[in-house]
Amino acid sequence: MSDQDASERFRWSAVRLIYAREMRDQLRDRRTLFTILILPLLLYPLIGSVLMQVTQFSNQPVMKIAVIGNENLVDVPILVEAIEPELGPDDTESGDAKEDLYDQSKTVVVQSHEAVSTEYRFADGLVTSHQQMRMTLFRTSEFGDQARIDQVTARWIADGVYDVVLKIPERLGDASGVSDQSGVSLVYNAVSGTSNSAAATVNTALQAWKNRWVQQSLKGLGIGEAVLQPFEVSLADIAKPHARQTLFWSKLLPMVMLIWAMTGAFYPAIDMVAGEKERGTLETLLCSPALRGEIVLGKLATVTTFSMLTAVLNTISMLSTGAMVFSQIGIGEPAVMPLWIVVLLLAAMFPLSIIFSGIALGLSAMARSSKEGQYYLMPMMMAIIPFVVLPSMPGISLNIGTSLIPVTGMFLFVRSLIESNYATALVHLPMIAGVTIACAALVVRWTMRLFENESVLFHGGQPFNPGRMLDSIRENRQTYAKPNQAYALAVVILVGLFFGRLMFSGVPDGVSGFAKMVLGPQVGMILLPSLIIAAVCTRRMRIGLRLRMPTWNVLLFSVVLGFAIHPAYMLLTRWVMVAYPVSESAMAAMRPLTDQMAATPWIYLVLLMAVVPAVCEELAFRGFMFGGLLRDRQPFRAILVTAVLFGVSHGVLQQSISATVMGFLLGWIAWRTGSVLPTILIHTINNTLSVSLPSIAEMDLPGKSFIFETTGDQFAYQPMWCLMCITFSMAIMVIFGSLNPNADEQSSLQEDDAQSLANSQNTITYKLAPGTH
């Protein structure tokens, strides 16, 4: 057997060989070269020059302003002046205009004769904008009454005759200074961009004019200008030069880089697998001495190289042209992107690039032709883009929850470093690294499996058909879920909870609001998916959810264990609080919730905080998922995985840690007892005790001091009681350890395995399935 081992040995030289060939092959491909090298070099200068042209031409359309009632301004600073000084505002009246005005025809193109020939503008220094404007003046008397003014101006704006209409009431300029009118008004259309900006320009001019007016009045009263400006504010920005641009780029760049990394991965991947399938060259490679793993790694390395190359070249091209174009247009100074940030981004990109490349290779392996492969690009992009966009959304920052989201966590980490939040970044690094490595490993393993799968490689897999997929799941229903179905439920629950928490967040409104907040995620995001998936994938829901009835002894021991384990649980949560203190702000944010809890009647509290979560979470994690994972015959892995998933589902770091530890214990009990009922009991009792302790503390029970101690407002179990309880718990666990009630579970598993074997091997083995011969 030794020479067999030698022949199956993994050779890095073969990986290198395949990598070198694939690289050379791709670099000789004109299409690849174009998308990777030429496109980025040409694209951004091209976009830049088009952008510059467009801004030059469409730069500033002429702003059309109508002013009604300028003649009402007497003895005040000049607001509007004629460009030809001999024609004053008084000369704007025109007979033609009047007739037009009172005409009820639908188009109200009213232009007085003078308005066209005489040009007006705001008085010197009132307007800062360089935009050209064409101003038309009307007298109030031209319109008759106020209602008529409103009607006509509204129509002007609606029809786009003017971008903005400035109405000055008759007595605004009264020397008395007391006006019974509301003041000047601007009519504009917020929906229209030009109208909006025109209104803003005119408004600025009006503010400046008002200041002049005030100054003039004060001067008249003999008061100096100093009264108006008692002090000046000087702004001192401590941010390093260009820090803002850097931040802007650091938000934009990851997004752009990721999208390019995906594109860069996709086309070579399609060519390298689906294309080779089509050309028949994959076959020759598969019957060469290269192992499947060597082939996959060689191809993966090539795809990753191209993915990174595309991202890097696009970044360089975009940054350099972007800086030039922006400085030309005058939007901002040339952005300086420190080299270390670029390097950091690239380092962060690398593992993500591997993930995308793996996904692209896998999808490409499933495609029967390169054309079919192209169709998979969009869905892949759509699936990944939310993770890319999420980090740049306002209010999203690095915390325990976001650090666990693949891709997102990585970019929040980079942003934290750029913002100099080194401590936050480093605290979350292990989580982010763990999630990223796990994702990359999963993707690579998935791809390897696809390459091992002959029906994928030689029959191109089946076209995706949800209906048939559901049918085949229903046909192959088994007693317990399959491991991949268990993982699917975990993903559904974690994603559902993420959105569920956002949906049901906020301060609860009374008991019913509180109930909604608990029941929404628990029932909607945990219980419901579990029940649906169990109904679809398993033969009998009761068994699929592991709702097997244990012996009464086991139930009794579980109740006792529920009470006995609680002191240990309290110790654990206290230790977690010391190790990872909850921040003041988080405490403050939770205050309304804790207040609400204190105000909720005890029985509701037990129902919402103990019974409902226990039932929902146990059925999902220790029920369906655990049953599915046990299929692999590695109970400790099943316990570990469900415990971690259970912990992660809690969302808050402190809760997650203690929940994971509890998850180990509950998982072990679920394994030993072969049922989910004992863990539901323990979970319920544990949570009930946790929410009841404050009320128990207030009660005056005999012998309370034997169990509890009170120091200030702190309230805890007596050390002696803790010790007793822990000893007692251990004894019960020894009893559970000696149980072997999962015998019938084993037989069910064997039945399932026999059925899968029969399904895959048909004629030859179906006779082995129990009950069929």
Partner: protein
Amino acid sequence: MFHVSSIVAGANRMIDVIALTKVYQDGSMGRFVAVDRVHFHVAAGEIFGLLGANGAGKTTLLRILATMLRPTSGTVRVGGYDVEDSSSEVRRRIGFVSNNTAIYDRMTAEEMLAFFGKLNGLDGDRLRDRTESLMETLRMNEFRKCPGAKLSTGMKQKVSIARALIHDPPVLIFDEATLGLDVMVARNLLQVIRQLRDAGKCLIFSTHIMSEVEKLCDRVAIMHRGRILDCGTLSDLGSRHGHRDVEELFFSLVTNHDRSVLSDSVLQGAG
């Protein structure tokens, strides 16, 4: 253990196929038996023909021999190595030439040979010597620096054969290798195959062209719907079934088989 069995069965036996069955499980088509309890042996220095219509299961059978597909049941050994347990060892001992010539478009003939030679563990002088001798025998020198996309079908087939021969494997598998070749090139190919037999190689050659079988094969297996209906030298088969002509022989075997299957199923339906 496989060494022992190959010694017992005879030192020159290179391919053992024992009770091989291959079932495809397809979501849309359901279960499909592509190869059904097939049994044969091929010795070194022998050309073994697999004659069958399209869809008879020839390609599936050859892909199992080349370790690209796994048997559903049964045993297949190549050079004494099991295709499932020692697939790498098997792959080191075979050269596979398929009907689509499977040439990398953007690589030259020379580069192709170098790549597959290195994958098979050749390098330096050994690789160079082997490449030169193949270029010489297959007369490939004038297009050795041409990229694959620019080669004619005949040239491609030559490169493909050279690729399969680069590591001098004892077993060669030709899957409808003459498909799409013109008469001249096909003749050349058959010539090459004969030379390889004379050099002591074990050759397995699938085709649906009767005349090729007549001209080339030492022994023939007639394959139909996944089954091998009969197997032996052409004269054995002719005397056994009373037909001297391969075409006649093929049709009588196939129609007899289909008739018996039909009557079986009718009987079963009645029962």
